[in-house]
């Protein structure tokens, strides 16, 4: 039940069951950081290069994992939702919900599965409100590709593989219909 330790050896592994994680950085700081890491021709080039050199890709992915495990409790789903969740990781929800909290959140804000921990979606809501990014939570998140566990989500993002991972934040228009397998 204890929160993840920060030691490398205690990084969440892909087989650990998910549990809520309180992010170690503010949403505002990460939104600012995102503008540096946002997709552009340079990062696209980096992504293509990394994908060509397996050893470099592995080293890069490991570094990404260390950083994101410490900051967000990242479990390496490989298709990062953080920019749309005020940087609270939905994959740390025991049900891995990508579209908001379940109905079991305690009146004190606790997770139904780990009552000592705060619901990660409640944290996302509070962080989004704080950073004036509530609109992000209106986006519909499509089902993830389960084959991408363990991959670098930064490389996938820069490479454009994450396009369509979520919809616009307009709740009143119909979302595009789904087709997931060939992405």
């Amino acid at each position: 039940m204890a929160p993840c330790k920060t030691r490398l050896s205690a990084m969440p592994s892909l087989t650990d069951l998910p549990r809520p994680f309180r992010p170690r950085t503010s949403a505002r700081a990460m939104i600012a950081m995102h503008s540096v890491l946002d997709r552009n021709a340079l990062w696209y080039g980096v992504a293509v290069f990394l994908q060509k050199v397996p050893l470099l890709y592995q080293a890069f992915t490991f570094a990404e994992r260390v950083v994101k495990a410490r900051l967000f409790g990242c479990r390496m789903c490989g298709q990062c939702a953080l920019p749309a969740t005020a940087y609270a990781c939905p994959m740390s929800c025991p049900k891995q919900l990508r579209n908001g909290p379940c109905g079991g959140v305690g009146t004190d804000g606790s997770c139904e599965v780990y009552p000592g921990m705060r619901c990660v979606w409640l944290m996302a809501w509070e962080r989004a409100a704080d950073a004036d990014h509530i609109g992000d939570l209106r986006r519909l998140q499509r089902p993830i590709d389960q084959r991408k566990w363990g991959q670098s989500s930064w490389v996938n993002y820069w490479h454009g593989d994450d396009e369509g991972l979520w919809t616009e934040d307009d709740l009143l228009s119909a979302p595009p219909l789904l087709q997931t397998t060939h992405r």
Binding site: P94, K95, Q96, L97, R98, N99, G100, P101, C102, G103, G104, V105, G106, T107, G109, E112, V113, C119, W121, L122, W125, E126, L137, R138, L140, Q141, R142, P143, Q146, L171, L172, S173, A174, P175, P176, L177, L178, Q179, T180, T181, H182
Partner: protein, 329 residues
């Protein structure tokens, strides 16, 4: 509420499933649904008995899907039995036990067997059930499942892009819990499900009408009640033990002190009766809230109480315009 939202998708909209529940709601009548929990065991006689008990009183009955993560007879099987008894089923389908392959397969099975209504939810975590050692699947969440159903209906394909011949159709339902934080977000969360394709919604048990009223205010502010029928979830508490269980063991349940005092304030042999009265009073109260299209009565292991609860709330036995959907031959 229209079915054929402009999508830029193929213009021919699939023929709509003949859902009595949808007809009642579209006529603007106050709809009544109830919940039937399937038994633990390989017999459907209990479901038949409950269906006969309820069929004159409700427009449709939900058949739960391994509710509380406890193994029960399959929801689809229960739905077929309810159909045979002349009552329309709502098949509950949750994401805890199935990946996207099985979910789509079960949806096709429901459409083919003339189960006209499906209600999709994420499902309770295995930790709360009788097999806490089971792996929860959670390949998709409830919203993504509703989105998938919409894709199957309107695009006439699976998630893989493969064509469905013929395309299925259902009256698509979702759930929402107005009584769990973050309260300000709950109406919008329902709105996300409506955007994904939900046409009706049944809520968690209402014991605090004030919180529900605020929730409905937000639903109306966004206009979601114009695009989705909201059925208020209610249910009787049978005993003080049941009350304690609900308060402490059931995730996402909120019973305010005023209700607790009402139930504790009567002699032990009158608690069940008072529980029914509380439920009837809440039905009468939520019926007057704008945007509430009906009630959904969940009397867990106490379905016998439902007719009297409805009668006390001033609801009459249902008038059916025609025979319910005939069993597919």
């Amino acid at each position: 509420v229209t079915d054929s939202q402009p999508d830029g998708q193929p213009s021919s909209v699939p023929s709509r499933a003949p859902s009595h529940l949808r007809e009642v709601l579209e006529r603007g009548e106050f709809a009544v649904t109830a919940e039937i929990g399937p038994p633990r065991g390989a017999s459907v006689s209990a479901i038949r008995r409950k269906a006969r008990l309820l069929r004159d009183w409700v427009d449709a009955a939900n058949i739960t899907d391994n509710q509380s993560a406890v193994v029960r007879l399959a929801s689809w099987a229960g739905c077929l039995v309810v159909l045979e008894e002349g009552l329309e089923p709502v098949m509950q389908l949750q994401c805890r036990d199935r990946n996207r392959i099985a979910l789509q397969s079960d949806l096709l099975g429901a459409a083919a067997m003339k189960i006209p209504n499906v209600l999709m939810l994420t499902g309770d975590h295995p930790r709360f059930g009788d097999h806490p050692d089971a792996r929860g699947v959670f390949d998709m969440d409830s919203l993504q499942l509703i989105w998938t159903a919409r894709t199957m209906r309107l695009q006439r394909t699976l998630l893989s892009g493969r064509e469905l011949k013929p395309a299925p159709d259902w009256f698509v339902g979702a759930v929402e819990n107005p009584f769990a934080p973050p309260y300000e977000w709950r109406a919008e969360r329902l709105g996300k499900k409506v955007a994904a394709g939900a046409e009706f919604c049944q809520t968690q048990f209402i014991y605090d009408v004030d919180i529900f009223r605020k929730f409905m205010q937000r639903v109306r502010d966004f206009g979601f009640d114009q695009r989705c029928f909201v059925l208020a979830g209610v249910g009787p508490i049978k005993s003080l033990r049941g009350l304690e269980f609900m308060r402490s063991e059931v995730p996402g349940m909120y019973v305010p002190d005023s209700i607790v005092q009402r139930l504790r304030g009567v002699p032990a042999d009158r608690v069940a009766d008072e529980g029914m009265q509380v439920c009837s009073d809440i039905i009468a109260e939520v019926k007057e809230i704008p945007g509430v299209a009906g009630v959904h009565v969940m009397a867990v292991s106490w379905e016998e109480a439902i007719p009297e609860i409805l009668e006390r709330a001033g609801l009459k036995p249902r008038q059916r315009t025609g025979e319910p959907v005939a069993q597919g031959s």
